[in-house]
């Protein structure tokens, strides 16, 4: 472990042996970058502490990478880690098109080497009433959108994930009723908020497949399902785009999906959340859910004057 004193490691965190060995093999800087394209395991990232991390203790690495909702790989929480080995995250191109003056196609392998990579330790609140704290590594979405030079007519941003039934077994399950690929959306001002992150890594390493490799959206004041994984396409629009869960059950999942303890899900209360990471039936804890997941200072202004019960 002495070789890898990554920021804020937990005493309780046990790094799996394979990962520990692969990290060792990757030590040596340049070698690491050339291995990115082929490495099945996570590779370490050059990153520096960013803002908004606060005083949060991250959820153990094992839980962050093995308790996931990623229906493209199956509906069980363990499915994404167990069934995503065949997914090839690299090479990968992320395009930004639509109402922009300079459409861009970004090579994600280049983004992974970006000197601007920041660590952001964010709360993650799932709509299912559980929560984690995750140390992401990534780039603010605003910086990439600015490079594409949004047209003044643009009001919304549509996000689209990948359609690869041969690599994503969950996409072949027709009974779920989900239309693939997964799509999400934000208002442009939400997308430009400095909290909104495109994550390329977690815990200082490239994203494992189950966490949305190679690049995913993180919007910490919204429910987790807004954070579209394996992001391929960003389009700027002059209208609100459709979003996957809203399309499936519009009474349960709104377009905004802001974390809000006062607006309940039809099937359960959102006032409190189960804290992930206890691993003991009688030692598990619940905590109050915070308005905007605790990021009200940064985002409350975006919704001034709006009825958040109606626009849930």
């Amino acid at each position: 472990m002495a070789l890898f004193q990554y920021p804020r490691p937990l005493p309780s965190e046990i790094t799996p042996k394979e990962m520990y060995l692969s990290r060792r093999a990757l030590i040596g800087g340049a070698a690491a970058l050339s291995t990115l394209a082929t490495a099945a395991n996570a590779a370490s990232l050059q990153t520096h502490p960013g803002p908004y991390s606060g005083n949060l203790t991250p959820t153990p690495h094992e839980d962050v990478t093995h308790y996931n909702n990623f229906y493209e790989f199956g509906m069980g929480k363990a499915d994404p880690a167990a069934r995503s080995q065949d997914f090839h995250p690299l090479p990968w191109t992320l395009e930004i098109t639509g109402l922009v003056r300079k459409p861009v196609r970004l090579d994600v392998e280049q983004l992974l080497r970006s000197a601007a990579m920041e660590e952001r330790i964010y709360r993650m609140r799932c709509v299912e009433a559980w929560s984690m704290v995750i140390p992401w590594d990534g780039l603010p979405l605003a910086s990439l959108l600015k490079d594409a030079d949004p047209d003044p007519r643009a009001t919304h941003v549509a996000f689209e994930s990948v359609l690869r039934p041969s690599e994503m077994p969950g996409q072949s399950d027709g009974l779920s009723g989900i239309q693939w690929p997964y799509v999400e959306g934000l208002r442009l001002d939400e997308a430009m908020n400095p909290l909104t992150l495109l994550a390329l890594g977690v815990y200082g390493e490239t994203l494992p497949n189950q966490n949305g490799a190679p690049i995913r959206l993180v919007v910490p004041w919204k429910y987790g399902f807004k954070g579209i994984k394996s992001l391929q396409r960003i389009r700027l629009l002059d209208h609100e785009p459709p979003t996957t869960w809203n399309r499936l059950a519009s009474d349960e999942y709104g377009f905004y999906a802001n974390v809000n303890p006062q607006v309940d899900h039809p099937r359960w209360s959102q006032a409190t959340e189960r804290v992930i990471g206890a691993h003991s039936l009688f030692g598990a804890t619940r905590q109050p859910t915070l308005m905007f997941n605790g990021y009200g200072e940064q985002v409350a202004d975006l919704y001034r004057g709006m009825d958040l019960r109606k626009n849930f």
């Binding site: 509906m75 929480k77 559980w130 009974l175 779920s176 039809p266 992930i276 598990a284």
Partner: protein, 206 residues
């Protein structure tokens, strides 16, 4: 001449017939014990309370389905068994698991937070369905003894038809506990549909 083995097996089946209660009731409770053990040893994963709660509910639904499966098994598969005794076994085990399921939801999951629970029970269709199923099972559990049968006579039979609405309510509650239809819930819902269909088929004399 019967072989020695035949005697042995007859002796064994005699054992089962005499002592089936002390064998089958504890056997049916093993999953509950196993879940508690797993929960205390970190084997239920990152969200143990949720898995525990859901697993208990699923066991309740399984025993309800088993209970409904006994009569069709006899009718269509020609397995002649003393129906009533196993109906009582599976029914009581279903009630046992449903009670633990609610206890886990009230105590472990929500820490007896009555404000949240009251809103849940009075406002949420999903919770109301599950609670109604449990409420319907209460009189069945209370009258699942020979004395009640003797006293209630034909009304007993009528009362115990409540197992059907209870299972249907539990089935809808189970279906709603997932975000979408999926490979976990499909087989159980198919089984429920099949067992209900068996009841609709015209009765014929065998």
């Amino acid at each position: 001449m019967p072989s020695e083995g035949m005697f042995a097996s007859r002796a064994r089946s005699g054992m089962l017939q005499r002592h089936w209660r002390v064998i089958l009731y504890p056997l049916g409770m093993i999953p509950a014990g196993w879940l508690v053990w797993q929960g205390q040893h970190g084997a239920l994963g990152a969200d143990p309370v949720n898995v525990f709660e859901r697993s208990l509910g699923l066991w309740a639904f399984r025993f309800l389905l088993a209970c409904l499966a006994l009569a069709p098994l006899r009718r269509f598969a020609g397995i002649s068994i003393n129906l009533l005794r196993y109906r009582r076994l599976t029914g009581l085990l279903a009630f046992f698991y449903a009670s633990l399921h609610v206890l886990a939801y009230v105590g472990l999951d929500h820490g007896f937070d009555w404000t949240v629970l009251w809103t849940d029970i009075t406002h949420r269709f999903f919770i109301i369905l599950g609670m109604s199923a449990l409420v319907l099972l209460i009189p069945l559990a209370l009258t699942s003894n020979a004395l009640s049968m003797r006293l209630m006579k034909r009304r007993w039979k009528f009362l115990h038809k409540l197992i059907y609405p209870a299972t249907v309510l539990a089935g809808i509650h189970f279906f709603l506990s997932f975000k979408t239809l999926n490979s976990v819930s499909e087989p159980y819902l198919a089984a429920l549909a099949l067992l209900l269909a068996c009841r609709i088929l015209p009765k014929r004399r065998v």
